[in-house]
C-alpha cells in the first residue's frame, strides 16, 4: 500500500511537471507580448520596458520556467511583494498573487462540488437501485424515462428556467450567491441550493441509469443466484453480493466527475453568476494571463491525479482481486 502511494505520488509529480512545461512553452508560442496587455491603452515604450522587467519577461524562456518552478517550492519576490511557496506567480492582469486568487475562489467550487455530489449520489444511486430492484415495473419505467429526459438536459437551459420560476416569478428563493460557510451556514445553504439542484439534475440522471444497469448486470451473476440458493434473503444478497460488484464502474465515473467538478464547474458558475475556479480558468485563458493559467491548470490537474490515486486504492478495498502493486 505504501509502495503504491509512493509510486503513484512520484508519477503524479512527473505528470504535473510535464503539464506545466507544456503549458509554459506553448504560451510563448502565442504571437503576442503579454506586457502590452498589462500596459493598457496609453502605453509608452518606457512603461512597457518597466513592465517587461517587472514581469521577468526579459529572461530567456527556459530561465523564466526555472524561476517559476523554483518559486513553487521556495517562493519568489516580485515588485508587488514577496510570494511565499507555493508561488504560482503574479497575474499579468491584476497584479494579484495567483495562489491567493485560487484560494479565494476555491471555497465556492468546493461548496458547489460537495453539495452537488451529495444530491446526485444519494438521489442518483438510490433511484437506480430502486429501478433495478423493481425492474420492469411502472416504478422502473418512470425512473428510467425521467432520467433519460433529464440526462439530455443542459445546465444553461435548465438553470434560467429554474431561476425564472423560483426567483423571478415567485420570489420563493433569492438569486444564487456565495456566502462562506464559516460566515453564515444558513445563507451558504440557501444561496447555493438552486445551483446544487440544477447541477445535480444532469449528474443524477446519469447515476440513476448507471446504477440501474450495473445493478441489473450484477443481479444476473451466478454468485447472486448461488447466494439465494444458500437461503440468504433477497435484501441481503441485493446489497452484499450484487451492490458490491456494481460499485466499481460507479466509482470509476465518480472519480472522473469529481475531478472535473473540483477543476471548476464552468457552465454552472456562468449560469448562476458565481465566481469559482471555472470562471477563473476561462478568465485566465481569455486574458492570456500565463501565471493564472498555470495556476488553474496545475491546481485542477493535481485534483484529477489525486482522485485517480484514491479511486485506484478504493478498487482494492472493494474488490480483493485487485492488488496494488
Amino acid at each position: 500500500m505504501l509502495r503504491f502511494i509512493l509510486r503513484r505520488t512520484f508519477g503524479a509529480v512527473l505528470i504535473l511537471l510535464l503539464i506545466s512545461a507544456f503549458t509554459f512553452f506553448m504560451y510563448y508560442a502565442i504571437p503576442q507580448d503579454p506586457a502590452t496587455l498589462a500596459c493598457g491603452k496609453n502605453c509608452t515604450p518606457d512603461a512597457l520596458a518597466i513592465i517587461h522587467k517587472n514581469l521577468g519577461l526579459d529572461d530567456p524562456i527556459p530561465v523564466q520556467y526555472w524561476k517559476f518552478l523554483s518559486g513553487l517550492f521556495a517562493g519568489r519576490d516580485f515588485a508587488v511583494g514577496h510570494c511565499p511557496a507555493p508561488c504560482f506567480g503574479v497575474s499579468f492582469r491584476d497584479q494579484q498573487m495567483v495562489w491567493d486568487t485560487i484560494m479565494d475562489r476555491f471555497p465556492l467550487t468546493l461548496s458547489l462540488t460537495i453539495g452537488g455530489l451529495l444530491v446526485f449520489l444519494i438521489v442518483g444511486l438510490g433511484t437506480g437501485l430502486i429501478a433495478a430492484r423493481y425492474r420492469g415495473t411502472w416504478l422502473d419505467k418512470t425512473f428510467s424515462s425521467i432520467s433519460l429526459v433529464l440526462s439530455s438536459m443542459q445546465i444553461y437551459f435548465l438553470g434560467p428556467v429554474v431561476l425564472g420560476i423560483f426567483v423571478y416569478s415567485t420570489g420563493w428563493l433569492d438569486k444564487p450567491k456565495y456566502v462562506p460557510f464559516s460566515e453564515n451556514p444558513a445563507q451558504w445553504f440557501m444561496g447555493l441550493l438552486i445551483p446544487w439542484i440544477v447541477m445535480s439534475v444532469i449528474f443524477t440522471a446519469n447515476y440513476t441509469r448507471m446504477s440501474r444497469s450495473t445493478m441489473i448486470e450484477q443481479l444476473q451473476e451466478e454468485h447472486v443466484r448461488a447466494a439465494r440458493a444458500k437461503g440468504m434473503t433477497g435484501r441481503y444478497v441485493f446489497f452484499r453480493y450484487a451492490w458490491r460488484g456494481s460499485l466499481i464502474p460507479i466509482l470509476t465515473i465518480l472519480g472522473m466527475d469529481l475531478s472535473a467538478l473540483l477543476g471548476g464547474a464552468v457552465v454552472t458558475e456562468f449560469t448562476f453568476g458565481l465566481a469559482g475556479i471555472g470562471r477563473l480558468a476561462v478568465d485566465s485563458v481569455v486574458g492570456k494571463d500565463l501565471p493564472k493559467l498555470m495556476g488553474v491548470m496545475l491546481f485542477s490537474a493535481a485534483f484529477i491525479l489525486l482522485l485517480n490515486v484514491i479511486v485506484d486504492a478504493l478498487y482494492a478495498v472493494i474488490d480483493p482481486r485487485v492488488r496494488l502493486s
Binding site: E222, H223, G231
Partner: protein, 354 residues
C-alpha cells in the same frame, strides 16, 4: 401440440410418499419472442440416500427443473404449474420466507462453475459460513469453525489458513470443493448438482465425484445429478431420467437405461459418445438435426423431426399427432412397440455402440 394426452405419470397428484416428488411440472417463461415451454409435464420421484441422474442436451429443461425446485426462477416472467413435494412440504405454493428457510438448509445446490458461483468479493470461509449462521443461528466464530471443518472435509489442505482466502486465490478444483463445502454446510437432505464437474479436468472430476459419494454415504442425502456426461451418470447415479425438449423421454435404473436403452433419443446419445475401443479416425455419430425450439415445440413426440425410426411406427403419423406417454417406472415415451424397440436396439444400435 395437436393432441395433448393426459399427464405422463400414473400416480395421482400428491399420492407419492417419496422424499422428493415432482408431479406434472410445467415451467413456462414469457420472453419477447413468445412463451418458452422449458419444462412440459415432468414427473419423477427421489428417495433419500439415492442419486437420480438427469441427462439431456442443452435446453432440455434439466437446469430449469432444478431451479424450480429451489424456487430460484424469476417470478415475474415464469409460470410454474404442477407439484413439487419435498419431505411432505409443497414447494410451488410455498412463500419466499419459507423457501429461504429450506434453501441451503434442507435442499442445496452445487453450481456448474464455481468461479462464477462464488462471489469474488467475500472470503471463501465467509461464503461457506453464511448459510450456517443463517440456518442454525451460529455466531460468527462458530460459523468460521464450521467453515474450516467443511473445508477439511472436502479435502482442502491447510483449511485453517485457507479459510480467509478469496475464491480467486483457490485453484479450479479447490474452488469446486469449496462450492461443495458451501452447499453441504447444513447437511442438506437434498443436493442438486448441476454439472458439478464439467468445468474440471478429468482427474479432479473423479476426485469430486468420489467426494460426493462419500458425503452422500455419510449424510444420506438424496442427490440429483444434472449432466450431459453419461460417464458421470454411470459412475454416480442409481436412477436415470433422460430429458428432451422439456419432457422426460426415458427412465429406469442407470443399468437398464445404459444397457438396454429404449428411446431413439437415448440411442442417439449413446451412439454419439466416443469409445475407447474405436479406431481413432472413426468419426462420432451425432444425432441428426438440432434441438427443437421450445417456443414452438414439435407436435406429438417432440423428437419426431430427428427420429430415424419414425417410419417403423404403425399407423400414419402417430409420432406427429399423438404425444407418447412415459410409463411409470422403467420405460420410454415412444410409439414403437417393445418388440420393435428391442429388435432395433439389438440389430441396429448395439453393433454401433461396440
Amino acid at each position: 401440440m395437436t393432441t395433448l394426452t393426459k399427464p405422463e405419470d400414473a400416480p395421482a397428484a400428491g399420492a407419492s410418499d417419496a422424499f422428493l416428488s415432482v408431479r406434472d411440472l410445467h415451467v413456462r417463461f414469457a420472453t419477447e419472442d413468445g412463451v418458452v415451454k422449458a419444462v412440459d409435464g415432468l414427473s419423477f420421484d427421489l428417495e433419500r440416500g439415492t442419486t437420480l441422474g438427469i441427462v439431456g442436451e442443452s435446453g432440455s429443461g434439466k437446469s430449469v427443473t432444478n431451479l424450480s425446485i429451489l424456487g430460484l426462477h424469476n417470478p415475474l416472467s415464469t409460470t410454474i404449474e404442477g407439484e413439487i413435494v419435498l419431505d411432505g412440504k409443497e414447494l410451488i405454493t410455498a412463500t419466499e420466507p419459507e423457501l429461504e428457510k429450506l434453501r441451503g438448509n434442507k435442499m442445496a445446490m452445487i453450481f456448474q462453475d464455481a468461479l462464477t458461483a462464488l462471489s469474488p468479493y467475500h472470503s471463501v470461509g465467509r461464503q461457506i459460513g453464511e448459510p450456517f449462521r443463517k440456518h442454525t443461528g451460529a455466531s460468527k466464530r462458530e460459523a468460521r469453525e464450521r467453515a474450516i471443518e467443511m473445508l477439511e472435509k472436502v479435502g482442502i489442505p491447510h483449511a485453517k489458513r485457507r479459510v480467509d482466502d478469496y475464491p480467486h486465490q483457490f485453484s479450479g478444483g479447490m474452488r469446486q470443493r469449496a462450492m461443495i463445502a458451501m452447499s453441504l454446510v447444513c447437511n442438506p437432505d437434498l443436493l442438486i448438482a448441476d454439472e458439478p464437474t464439467t468445468a474440471l479436468d478429468v482427474t479432479v472430476q473423479a476426485q469430486i465425484l468420489d467426494l460426493l459419494k462419500d458425503l452422500q454415504q455419510e449424510f444420506g442425502s438424496a442427490i440429483i445429478m444434472i449432466t450431459h456426461d453419461l460417464g458421470v451418470v454411470a459412475n454416480m447415479a442409481d436412477d436415470l431420467l433422460v430429458m428432451y425438449a422439456g419432457r422426460a423421454v426415458e427412465r429406469g435404473t442407470v443399468r437398464e437405461v445404459l444397457k438396454t436403452p429404449q428411446h431413439p433419443y437415448t440411442w442417439g446419445l449413446l451412439a454419439s459418445m466416443p469409445r475407447l475401443t474405436a479406431d481413432v479416425d472413426e468419426p462420432l455419430t451425432p444425432i441428426a438435426g438440432a434441438p427443437p425450439s421450445l417456443l414452438n415445440p414439435p407436435s406429438g413426440c417432440p423428437f419426431h423431426p430427428r427420429c430415424a425410426f419414425r417410419n417403423e411406427v404403425e399407423g400414419a403419423d402417430r409420432c406427429v399427432d399423438i404425444r407418447p406417454e412415459l410409463p411409470t417406472g422403467r420405460g420410454a415415451a415412444c410409439h414403437l412397440t417393445s418388440d420393435q424397440k428391442s429388435r432395433i436396439f439389438t440389430e441396429t444400435i448395439r453393433p454401433r455402440l461396440g
